[in-house]
């Protein structure tokens, strides 16, 4: 409707309008960039892991000293774990996926050729390892009990067969003939790829190649062992509650500790990302609240100081909707000025974030979304004061003071 006169009235009182516009500009810049970061973190957290995260937990056992019966101990423990009601599978495992702790080593496609080496995260598991982790075998075969053996923890000896993830198989052998092929360690010991699993996340969730994983049929000797246990759906907590006591009962001369669900372990690994998402969401919410309050405050004041003017407008024929529309249009103009400046500011802020912190570039769609949100916010915030303005009696106009 009457944009020009509203605009010219605004220009005569520009400080208030400029302040709100600036506020909206900074708000848009912060909100778009923060929303962008939040989205990235949530995407990261929500990636498929290839693991049955919800039904896996770990438990550790430590002896006071190394002893000869350690291998017997592991076998007995595994037998007990696998026999617990509600347990689907259990394996000895060197470290937990998604935990932030683990091992990596070089794999050579050509023995001794430095150019052919690929570093990959590896896990030591037994014949129930794949079943326990819930990863899907897509080619070749699973480990058999005869593949699995015990190794001194300080030993450099390697099992002869390994299973790798599909991504790693393709990286090692781009021609697609990974199954049955052999890779070597730095000392030239061969390892045959006997199976390929579809997808699995390794130890370090912030690593770029988190899904390049090697699985070895290997259990370390020593005084420390970690077990991963997968339960039937809905029975994880029930098994977790008894496992420490059951294992301790089997042999009290050791420490059974570290019962933690994979869900909790993964959640810790993503703690910083989740925290960032939560903190930024809080900042966005507060920012929007502050901006809305600012609009309400200034609009209320503007209504109060324009009481007479509004009364006069009513007296000369403005209806209530006309008055409401006036304030809506006025606010919309201010918001529009603010988001115009804010779009530039959002891009500038993003450039700074990209340069200084190597954050990803802002997807442009966040800007129109942010603009739409701020338009809506402005209109909602001004609705109250505008309605109060509309309720000013036209008879105010004839009052002298």
């Amino acid at each position: 409707m009457e944009i020009r006169p509203i605009l010219s009235a605004m220009l005569r009182n520009k400080t208030g309008a400029v302040l709100i516009a600036l506020q909206i500009a900074v708000t848009l810049a912060v909100v778009t960039n923060a929303a962008h970061i939040i989205k990235q973190r949530l995407d990261l957290i929500g990636r498929p892991t290839g693991l049955d995260v919800a039904h896996i937990f770990q438990v550790q056992s430590v002896d006071f000293a190394e002893h000869v019966s350690f291998r017997e101990r592991v076998r007995a423990d595994l037998e007990l774990l696998r026999g617990l009601p509600g347990v689907r599978a259990a394996t000895a495992i060197g470290s937990m996926p998604l935990s932030g702790g683990g091992s990596a080593t070089e794999h050579y496609v050509e023995a001794g050729q430095d150019e052919s080496r690929v570093a990959a995260n590896y896990f030591t598991i037994d014949e129930q390892g794949l079943e326990t982790l819930g990863v899907k075998l897509v080619a070749g075969r699973d480990f058999r009990p005869e593949d699995v053996d015990f190794y001194e923890s300080t030993s450099g000896k390697l099992p002869a067969s390994i299973i790798v993830t599909d991504v790693l198989a393709k990286r090692l052998f781009p021609n697609g003939n990974a199954l049955g092929a052999t890779v070597y360690d730095g000392l030239g010991q061969p390892q045959a790829i006997i199976g390929i699993v579809e997808h699995m996340h390794g130890s370090w969730v912030d690593a770029e190649r988190v899904d390049e994983v090697v699985l070895r049929p290997q259990i370390y000797d020593g005084n420390f062992v970690r077990y991963a246990v997968r339960t039937e759906p809905g029975r994880r907590d029930e098994v977790m509650a008894v496992v420490e006591q059951k294992l301790t009962a089997l042999d009290p001369q050791r420490v059974v500790r570290g019962v933690r669900s994979l869900e909790e372990i993964a959640s810790d690994s993503y703690g910083a990302d989740r925290a960032m998402a939560i903190l930024l969401t809080t900042v966005i919410a507060l920012l929007i609240a502050v901006t809305a309050l600012g609009i309400v405050g200034l609009a209320s004041f503007s209504v109060k100081s324009r009481t007479k003017q509004i009364g006069t407008r009513r007296a000369i024929g403005a209806s209530r909707p006309d008055i409401i529309r006036y304030f809506m249009v006025e606010n919309w103009l201010i918001t529009t000025g603010g988001v115009a400046l804010g779009s530039a500011l959002a891009v500038a802020l993003n450039l700074w974030l990209v340069r200084t912190f190597e954050l990803p570039k802002l997807e442009i769609v966040y800007i129109p979304l942010g603009i739409a949100a701020l338009w809506l916010l402005g209109l909602l915030a001004v609705l109250g004061p505008a309605r109060r303005a509309a309720s000013i009696a036209p008879a105010i106009a004839t009052r002298t003071v």
Partner: protein, 438 residues
């Protein structure tokens, strides 16, 4: 006169309670968010041994692979940690007043007394100087001696928490504790001690709690104590025994020295370089000479302890504060514009522009102080929230007195900055302007 201004300010604030509340809320929110972000940042980048951090140095030797730097993205850096064999040689030098090699390991433990179930202890194997290097406070007993280091005596220092757990918090000096398969004698119990960040070992969680117990580094071989911390290896070498591992090129030991003068620093640097050259002749240290001494103060920067996320949050928090201030400026302008007739009257009655200005600054100052107090309250709540969200930040998200001062200052400065323009505008109302009706 100040008393009069305070009274006027209170009256004025009460006249527009909603507007005043909005301003206090805006400043309070801005300060609260800023302080929360700043506190975490400040503590993250704090120097836990500030009084001597320019005399305590981290030692780096570049024993890494000739074909690639330790960190691809930072080729100028040497490995953060040392090999066992290099650490053993450095321990022989007496150039530094104090020196300590260290790493963490994990053992099963239980006290001699019956009835307390065995548990894990995260153990730091280190030298006796560790405690004086980092000014570790003792509640009972003291550190073990250098003589105990040399004699590989099974002595142990407990953290306050572990002593609480094992011995109910009483003076346990002289008591025995089973670590692995050997009994260790308690020689000291620490008082409250939790350096943030854990400057002496940034490799294994810079904001983790300190270890449960401390035992002599010289026992490493005897105990076959494997590192349960960060271990990095580059060389393809057969490792079939613990002795092989100790002899390998794997780096896993943190090494610290105290050097009291620039001369000592030079002397020590020369010692490191000489050692490296000697090793080069023996076929090790194939990379260019890159041995580093970094003071504890600089070490935190070099290791980039403060996470980018926290810097981003601080940046965004200040933008948030800017929005809150813009908000306050707008509200103040509105409020003072409404007071124009009154100001005009006061001016007509003889108030100078200066006194009017002062009167309003007092009012703004009151808003600032109220906003600052609210902000502090919100920061306390905000930090509690952060602790709830991030377990690691248990020690980071605590308000410290220095920051409380900063908060009040920022609040005052912010509200004055926000207030100057509106006040100036209000005070430039000519005395006669509002005395007539329109």
């Amino acid at each position: 006169m100040l008393h009069y201004y305070l009274k006027l300010a209170l009256l004025s604030l009460r006249r527009n309670p909603i507007l005043s509340a909005l301003m206090v809320a805006a400043i309070g929110l801005g300060i609260g968010v800023c302080m929360t972000a700043l506190t975490v940042y400040h503590l993250m980048s704090a120097d836990p041994i500030a009084h001597k951090s320019d005399r305590v140095y981290a030692v780096q030797l570049d024993s890494w692979d000739v074909n690639a730097p330790f960190i691809d993205a930072r080729p100028e850096q040497a490995p953060w940690e040392l090999t066992w064999r290099d650490a053993m040689v450095l321990r022989e030098s007496d150039i530094a007043a104090r020196r300590a090699a260290m790493f963490i390991s994990t053992f099963a433990t239980r006290p001699e007394a019956e009835g307390i179930s065995p548990s894990f202890v995260i153990t730091r194997l280190t030298d006796s100087d560790f405690f004086s290097l980092f000014d570790v406070p003792f509640a009972f007993g003291s550190a073990w001696t250098r003589e105990a280091d040399q004699a590989e005596r099974p002595v142990i220092v407990l953290s306050k928490e572990k002593n609480e757990e094992m011995f109910g918090g009483e003076n346990s000096v002289g008591r025995k504790l089973l670590i692995g398969e050997r009994y260790f004698e308690v020689v000291g119990v620490l008082d409250d001690w939790a350096p943030v960040p854990k400057v002496y070992d940034l490799n294994n969680g810079p904001f983790n709690d300190p270890e449960d117990v401390y035992i002599p580094f010289s026992l490493t071989e005897t105990l076959e104590a494997e590192s349960t911390g960060n271990v990095n290896c580059w060389k393809n070498e057969p490792i079939d025994s613990f002795a092989d591992f100790l002899n390998s090129e794997c780096v896993w030991i943190q090494y610290w020295v105290e050097l009291d003068s620039p001369t000592q620093v030079e002397e020590y640097q020369a010692f490191l370089d000489n050692y490296a050259r000697e090793q080069q002749r023996l076929g090790r240290f194939e990379r260019p000479l890159n041995n580093r001494l970094t003071s504890a103060r600089d070490w935190l920067d070099v290791r980039r302890v403060v996470q980018d996320d926290n810097r981003v949050l601080v940046g965004l928090a200040f933008m948030f504060l800017a929005v809150c201030l813009l908000n306050t400026v707008g509200l103040l302008l509105a409020k003072f514009a409404g007071k124009a007739p009154q100001i005009s009257l006061r001016r007509a009655l003889g108030a100078s522009r200066g006194t009017t200005f002062l009167q309003h600054l007092v009012e703004i100052g009151m808003i600032g102080v109220a906003g600052g107090l609210l902000g502090l309250g919100l920061a306390v709540a905000g930090l509690a929230g952060v602790r709830l969200i991030i377990d690691d930040y248990e020690r980071l998200a605590r308000l410290d007195p220095f920051l409380v001062g900063v908060a009040i200052l920022i609040a005052l400065a912010a509200s004055l900055i926000a207030g100057i323009y509106p006040t100036w505008r209000a005070c430039s109302v000519p005395p006669a302007a509002h005395l007539k009706t329109q």
